[in-house]
């Protein structure tokens, strides 16, 4: 891989230093709090044992009322056995007389957590019930708590990094400006460029002085004596030197508002079904399970169906205006969702929330596509996927915790506040759209689906890559794994952690893989995207086959790891391939419409995943369902490689995608 340049090295070092310190700060806070958790859990578990002890002592006190001698009671072990069956965390229950056991059930422990309850009526005999708490139970609580605290730490870290991108934007932009100056002057493009304001001010000025001197000497020559600009040097910005810098600036400006809008929505993911189920359904005679699923279904349907329409619309009215519209609708939708008094009302506001999400998504994606070219598109889309994944990691975890504290309505209202902040930042920071170079693509909204789907290579990309990738992701990771983990006797929380691990892998690996794609592209003008997509699909398929391993939860872990690597390999190159496979359609319909169709079909894969997995599960059981999905995706990977690898993608595309 290419050696990192000075500026990348400095940015990487600074980010690494900040990351390490932030991680250490979070770890220290969690460690200090852990002590408080430890001090609280033991007494609470013991209090529960005391309550159970008093209950058993009450029952035994009935024998004292009938004046039965305590050492000749019948069925005490059975009574204790019943209690143990109900509360497996009690390792041993004893009836003691003057400290000596008369009757006992369970194994002897280390005696650290023992609750005692005297038996009324047997005071003279000093009879009491002693319940020993299983140390393994307390250990399990601590293990669970440790894992939960780890989740808290990861969430805090990711949200803090988003804040860092926001706060450090100015300083990072300085490094970007210097790099742009050096890169432009190194190509012989002596154009005035923005200079750093904080860091490297002297170097920026020295470079500008040198440039200005050359430009002045050039100007001072009589026009006919001036060397004509050409291959060697130029004084006009024909090679996009300013554009490269602007792209980073635009994407930096879009990042935080987009993240806030996504987070506002993801906050409610964890509790929305419960909230919906708690609302009166009015005249709708629906089962509680259906009621719980409706807000999610409505949201997804609106998002999926609106994609092709929104693509062209967003291009026509401009990215800034459409993003602001999305943020504004999100703000209203979240605020009114928090006020919903019936299911129908909630569904209406969730539909609006779905439309807002889709508008913001399309506008943000549009920013990426408008400001990247075929070389940088994969990296841009990787950053885009990264923002979505960070929000997916943080939103449900924070939302679940906040809902415990603030309630469902309070957390929805907080979502509205985040959307308001997103709107404000977008309004302040998002640059105005450049005037379109030509007329808006005709018929972008009408008939785009049929027109794009007439492109066979695009259909192959959809059916052999986009849909199978989503089917195996949603079908296994989000549907089968949670059920399988619980079936194995583990907890739903463990399933949640595995899903989170997948998301964390995506956040870390997607940009890294995108960098790899760019490096491969730079080498010998190669087109590595199809190879990355094929490899990613193959790994995703192998992930399903990993469930053949006989390691229980660890097999599921292997699946998640392989799926994470596979999807991170393919997700951005696959999206980037759309622009190259559909050049003709983009020229006529606009890239918004083409990407709208792509996202629509991709989302149909999302919907088909759990459905297919459920049918498989019903007919062939857990393991075979995983294997069948994996094998299916492997076949798709082979077919994809057969279609795309021999020929690669069509001839070189224009460096700047058509707006």
């Amino acid at each position: 891989m290419k050696r990192m340049g000075f500026f990348h090295r400095q940015m990487a070092r600074a980010m690494a230093a900040i990351l390490v310190v932030v991680m250490a700060a979070i770890a220290a806070t969690v460690a200090l709090a852990y002590r408080s958790f430890e001090e609280s859990v033991g007494p609470q578990v013991l209090a529960k044992a005391s309550t159970a002890g008093r209950s058993l002592a009450d029952t035994l006190a009935l024998a004292a009322k009938h004046e039965l001698p305590v050492d000749r009671l019948v069925g005490v072990e059975d009574l204790f056995g019943e209690a143990q069956k109900r509360y497996p965390e009690f390792a041993r229950i004893e009836l003691l007389q003057a400290g000596k056991p008369l009757y006992a059930k369970g194994v002897e422990g280390d005696g650290t957590l023992v609750a005692r309850a005297p038996i009324a009526g047997y005071e003279k005999e000093r009879a009491e019930v002693a319940i020993a708490v299983d140390p393994a139970f307390v250990r399990r609580i601590f293990q669970e708590m440790t894992l939960d605290l780890l989740v808290v730490a990861v969430v805090a870290l990711f949200v803090s990094l988003e804040l860092l991108y926001f706060l450090a934007a100015g300083i990072l932009a300085d490094l970007g400006r210097l790099r742009a100056q050096l890169a432009a002057f190194g190509r012989g493009a002596f154009v005035p460029l923005p200079r750093p304001a904080w860091l490297g001010v002297g170097l920026g000025e020295a470079l500008e002085r040198r440039r200005a001197a050359i430009a002045q000497r050039h100007e001072a020559l009589p026009p006919d004596a001036r060397p004509s600009p050409g291959a060697d040097f130029t004084f006009t910005d024909t090679r996009g030197a300013r554009g490269t810098n602007d792209a980073a600036f635009v994407m930096g400006a879009m990042r935080t508002p987009f993240f806030l809008l996504l987070l506002a929505d993801d906050l409610s993911r964890a509790f929305l079904p419960v909230f919906a189920a708690s609302l009166p359904a009015g005249g709708l005679a629906l089962s509680p399970n259906l009621v719980a699923s409706l807000p999610v279904v409505v949201f997804m349907v609106v998002v999926a169906l609106s994609q092709p329409v929104l693509g062209g619309w967003s291009e026509r009215i401009g990215r800034r205006r459409s993003f602001l519209a999305g943020a504004g609708i999100a703000l209203v939708a979240h605020a009114l969702s928090a006020q919903s008094s019936s299911l129908v009302e909630l569904l209406a506001w969730r539909s609006a929330g779905g439309a807002a999400w889709a508008i913001a998504f399309v506008a943000a994606q549009g920013y990426i596509l408008d400001h990247t070219d075929s070389r940088t598109r994969t990296a841009g889309l990787a950053a885009f996927v990264g923002i979505i994944m960070v929000s997916l990691i943080c939103g449900p975890s924070i939302g679940g915790l906040l809902a415990d504290g603030f309630g469902h309505r309070g957390t929805l209202a907080l979502g509205a506040a985040l959307a308001a902040l997103g709107f404000f930042l977008a309004w302040r920071r998002l640059p105005a759209d450049e005037a379109p170079a030509g007329p808006a693509p005709a018929g972008a909204a009408k008939g785009s689906l049929a027109a794009v789907l007439a492109n066979r290579r695009f259909v192959a990309l959809l059916l052999l890559a986009a849909v199978p990738a989503k089917v195996i992701l949603i079908g296994t990771c989000y549907y089968l794994i949670p059920l399988y983990i619980v079936e194995l006797g583990s907890t739903a929380a463990m399933a949640g952690r595995l899903i989170m691990l997948y998301s964390v892998m995506m956040v870390i690996l997607v940009p890294w893989m995108a960098g790899w794609v760019m490096a491969r592209r730079a080498l010998a003008d190669a087109r590595p995207e199809p190879a990355f997509v094929a490899a990613g699909l193959a790994l995703s398929g192998l992930a399903g086959l990993a469930m053949l391993l006989p390691f229980g939860v660890f097999s599921a872990l292997a699946l998640v790891l392989l799926l994470g690597i596979g999807q991170s390999l393919s997700i951005s190159p696959q999206a980037a391939m759309v622009a190259e496979v559909c050049q003709r359609e983009i020229a006529t319909l606009g890239q918004g419409a083409v990407y709208g169709v792509y996202r629509l079909v991709e989302r149909l894969g999302n919907a088909a995943g759990p459905l297919l997995a459920a049918i498989l599960l019903e007919t062939i059981g857990f393991r075979h369902s995983f294997v069948a999905l994996g094998a299916g995706v492997l076949v798709c990977a082979l077919l994809f490689a057969a279609v795309f690898l021999p020929r690669g993608v069509p001839a070189r595309v224009a460096t700047q995608a058509a707006p």
Binding site: V22, A25, I26, Q44, M145, L164, L401
Partner: protein, 244 residues
């Protein structure tokens, strides 16, 4: 315009502060969830015990409204746990059949509780006010049908005390982490800034022809320098009138 060191300080301050504050807030809610969960388990144990007694008597053919053993058990259980405020056993319509407070017998559970109590879940837990929480569980007859509900009300004073104690501890922990790690991050950023500025200063001198090109920026400066030199040669040649 504030200086770069001041900007770096605020960057460290806000990033560390946000990370620590966010962690503290999430820990606060996590602690509350763990504590109330354990307490709810304890209350549920009482509710389930009453359920079992009622269910046993129902299975023997007794009428729900005339289970003789329940009133005594209810009173005993309520007095055994000091923070229990009341135990009610209500029919499916919410009318109270047995209660630790005899005056409540025959009255109804608050109507706003009914949707929560009659939920299909095996237990319901909610807080009608800041100082009171409720746990309820269904009583089922031999056919698995809901015959009534055990509703246990308890005070949240223990929870408030525990949360207040935890808040003090977490605020202290966050304060220490914030101060310490802000200082550490600021020091690190300043050290990095000094290093980078030294390289940039040397590079600026190199561009002005006063120093050698720093090794770490040799590639980038070298390319620009080459182009500058070439352009200057062309311009000089053009000024002299000689061909390029």
């Amino acid at each position: 315009m504030p200086s770069l060191p001041r900007r770096l300080f605020w960057l460290a301050f806000w990033v560390v502060g946000f990370a620590v504050g966010m962690t503290g807030l999430l820990l606060y809610f996590k602690y509350q969830s763990v504590f109330t969960g354990l307490q709810r388990d304890r209350i549920l144990l009482v509710a389930r015990e009453i359920d079992e007694i009622a269910e046993r008597d129902l299975s023997l053919g007794q009428d729900f409204w005339s289970i003789d053993t329940l009133p005594e058990v209810i009173e005993r259980r309520r007095t055994a746990e000091s923070f229990l405020q009341a135990i009610d056993v209500a029919g499916p319509d919410g009318r109270i059949a047995y209660a630790s407070d005899m005056s409540r017998m025959g009255s109804s559970l608050p109507p706003e509780w009914m949707p929560l109590v009659t939920t299909a879940a095996p237990l319901a837990a909610f807080s009608p006010s800041r100082d009171e929480a409720v746990v309820s569980s269904p009583i089922r007859n031999s056919f698995g049908q809901v015959a009534g509900y055990t509703v246990v009300r308890y005070g949240r004073a223990l929870e408030h005390e525990a949360m207040a104690r935890f808040t003090r501890e977490i605020v202290f922990a966050c304060g220490v982490s914030w101060a310490g790690f802000t200082a550490l991050l600021f020091a690190l950023l300043m050290a990095m800034r000094r290093q980078i500025e030294a390289v940039f200063r040397q590079a600026a001198d190199a561009v002005d022809g006063k120093a050698a090109v720093p090794e770490s920026l040799a590639q980038e400066i070298g390319r620009a320098e080459g182009q500058f030199a070439q352009a200057e040669r062309f311009l000089a040649a053009a000024a002299d009138g000689s061909p390029r």
